[in-house]
Amino acid sequence: MTTKLFGEPVRRREDPRLLTGRGLYLDDLGAGALAAAFVRSPHAHARIRDIDVSAAIDVDGLLAIYTWEDLPGALAQPLPLLIPHPALTHGRTAHPLAREIVRHVGEPVVMVVARDRYLAEDACDLIRVDYEILKPVVGVEEATQSAQLVHADVPGNVGAHLVQEVPSASGRAVREIIESAPHTLAFRLDIERSASMPLEGRGVHARWDADDRSLRVHSSTQTSTSVRMAIAAKLGLPLPKVEVIAPDVGGGFGVKIVHPWPEEILVPWAAMTLGREVKWTEDRREHFTSSAHERAQVQFVRVGFDGDGRVLGLDVNILHDHGAYTPYGIIVPIITSTQLLGPYKIGAYRVEFSSIYTNTVQVTPYRGAGRPQAVFCMERTMDHIARHLGLDRTAVRAANFIQPDEFPYDQGLIFQDGRPLIYDSGDYPESLRMLKEMIGWDSFPEEKARAAAEGRTIGIGVGCYVEGTGVGPYEGGHVQVTSDGRVHVSTGLTSQGQGHETVFAQIAATELGVPLERISVVTGDTRRFGYAVGTFASRAAVMSGNAIALACRKVRDKALRVAADALEADPRDLEIVDGEVRVVGAPGASIPLATVAVLSNPLRYAFDEEAARATQFAGAGSSFDRPPVAPGEEPGLEGRDYYSPIRSTFASGMHAAIVETDPLTAEIRILRYAVVHDCGNLINPMIVEGQIHGGVAQGVGGALYERMVYDGHGQLLNASFMDFLMPYATEVPAVETAHLQTPSPLNPLGIKGAGEAGVIPVSAVIASAIEDAEGLVIDRMPISPSELFDLRRAAG
């Protein structure tokens, strides 16, 4: 059947537009708009003594220069602290333009608006800011010991401190269990900073309609509804007078979920103030020093275990570097600390983290959001245990797995959404069996020996993870069938390239029995759907997918009701196939969905042929003892519904890699990479695989290449693509994938999120493989060839 499209590798409907240059990204909009540019701090920590704009005001084409002192009302206040948490005792956010103190290189200080970007930058170059340089705090350990404070009123630079402890089944404390365990290990792990780095940076375009007193804003955002609310609040506008649209977005990976970015309220304000269209397009250097980073953590691990490798107690202390501000709260370390346990049941667990201020770019979620660090910690622990006991690394993992009959499994922790961390479903032993078979785990020792005989050094690594996906609170969907038989689907969350137009259309086609080509999908446009949370945490398919399915079911019910009237049949005997409502088993007895849409909307005026059939005088089957729109009914064939889960779904996966290290240069090459992935029912396997490929590529970057190199002055030394190394095609291996499907019992479609999975375990897997190849302990990622070379030398 053509319309049962759920689960099919349907080709993307976005592609024809994007392949011909007809995509519409932020900077493609607003031809002729004024351009905004920013003077940003060159210092990591400084007091602004004076801003001298006198040399800039003569620049041809200049319209305005704004500093913090020019900002009115709420715009002059600090930006919102989006996710307050009781443990975040010292949350701090920046002002849209710096007020008195700058706390990282790249913090915006002055906004300039001119006729075009070249002229705006000319003016920026001529503005002189006099700074009193303060001592910067760089590096998370230094920050905890430093007398220097990032924020004068935050003692010890500690923004948040949180402890969660799950004692043993018999109620014994974790530390006591570790002390009395047959085996104990303690070690330290380091993970460096990276960043989302979408190829399209951020951008904002705003148009003020002075007559209507309304604002239309396009932003390259992962959450248009929240940007809208922030703009309305900061600019004092009624919400219905603000529209925000996320056009085609050139990648997000987390960095575009932060909102409002200063520019998202400053640019609309400038448009209102000047009565002209204003646009700002971030350049790459700005992106490096003023958009968010992630990943940096130092972890101290103590683990107690028995002779089979079963973990009896695990105690982890994390220092999390959150940079200069905490607009997104402490979501990242919360996720690290709660997702650390992965697919394992650990005897007893204690985790403590301190979230530390430093004079560097703020840290907010980047694809995987705290999980790559968590998995690095747990999987390094598994490898340490295996080495200590002389056991196979997969055997140690298997000894600790939660078993398929133990779901739902409660880890006893509170997750990022404030709800209990309860896994819904999974089959970890089967996942490991599939992975070992795919990569040839059991026969690898012979392969390794053969390679060694040829003078080649190879090693194999493995990593397992569980990913809480589809976090609430909710998403919605609206579905409308128009009288031409077309189906218009909208949802409030956005798309940054995940193929939402395609998968949501697949869901609607399947639910409504309508061919794909008659379905259109709009995402991230507050004109079409105003209630939404956003696209992050692998939640879009779970949240909006289910909401759209529920909305479709409402439409379907109404369509069958209306059609049953027209066909004089029982609604229970009807089905919708290929856009037609048919009586099951009675060929010929059918009515097009288009006609049902006409019948559902009684009209006074015949403006076209379909409308003529729906006017009051068309009258077929109408009854004069009830109103044309019956009580409890609404005109039209449309439905709206929301999906709000009780808790997250838990996708899972396992990766394995074979690497080769050069005996002389220590160059690291990935020879094979295998993934077993379980995200419940697959909507579109082609798109899911694409998400895995992309995730693994980002993971490879994080494992081998990407790091933000800050010097002691807080200067980012590698703020360009020449120096911050992202992998090209030559560095990313082909990924071999297999799917396991354990449907989620939590939602009608049985799906779990898939957006971030690929990136999560890669550093752990590569570390494990290098360790196996070299016989050296790898406790810090990323690792470069020169670092591996140094490790070899240190080991003698």
Binding site: R11, R12, E14, D15, P16, R17, L18, L19, T20, G21, R22, G23, L24, Y25, D27, D28, A31, D116, R117, Y118, M197, P198, L199, E200, D248, V249, G250, G251, F253, D283, R284, Q496, G497, Q498, G499, M686, I687, E689, G690, I692, H693, G694, G695, V696, A697, Q698, S720, F721, M722, M726, Y728, A729, T730, V732, A734, V735, G758
Partner: protein, 158 residues
């Protein structure tokens, strides 16, 4: 200001630009051909790749005045005049060789030139051929697959 003449996608265009105007900005903002994207403005990501007299160049590293009198093909000029997608465009759609689509125009131009020079590239040659373009979404293997598929389609079409 300099009066320059560019032949873009077969159409002769006259435009007045300051000497410092980048070709990428000229194409995007002066001529409205926004399919060419700008990802880094320092010549590393390859998003802004266009064909200058048939050769792939990074339009963010070329001044518009430097292209005066030359022929340029942008992503908007790859499909046939009747809208039929080029073999390279078709192959990318078939093999899921794009996700967000931002780097895609640069890849399409690069690959078009690559296959013109070498209609049947080996795996190594394909990797080498696309290794000047960054993609943050796809993980590249479907892009590599797309290049091989495009070569096949072109061979079938001949």
């Amino acid at each position: 200001m300099h009066e320059i003449t560019l032949t873009v996608n077969g159409v002769v265009q006259q435009v007045a630009v300051p000497g410092r105007r980048l070709l990428s900005d000229c194409l995007r903002h002066d001529l409205g051909l926004t399919g060419t994207h700008v990802g880094c403005e320092h010549g590393v990501c390859g998003c802004c790749t266009v064909l200058l007299d048939g050769e792939p160049v990074r339009s963010c590293l070329v001044f518009a005045v430097g292209a005066d009198g030359h022929e340029i093909t942008t992503v908007e000029g790859l499909a046939a005049p009747d809208g039929t997608l080029s073999p390279v465009q078709r192959a990318f759609a078939e093999c899921h060789g794009l996700q967000c689509g931002f780097c895609t125009p640069g890849f399409l131009c690069t690959v078009t030139a690559l296959l013109r020079q070498n209609p049947a590239p080996t795996e190594e040659e394909v990797l080498e051929g696309v290794s000047g373009n960054l993609c943050r979404c796809t993980g590249y293997q479907n892009i590599v697959k797309s290049v091989h598929r495009a070569a096949e389609i072109m061979a079938e079409d001949r």
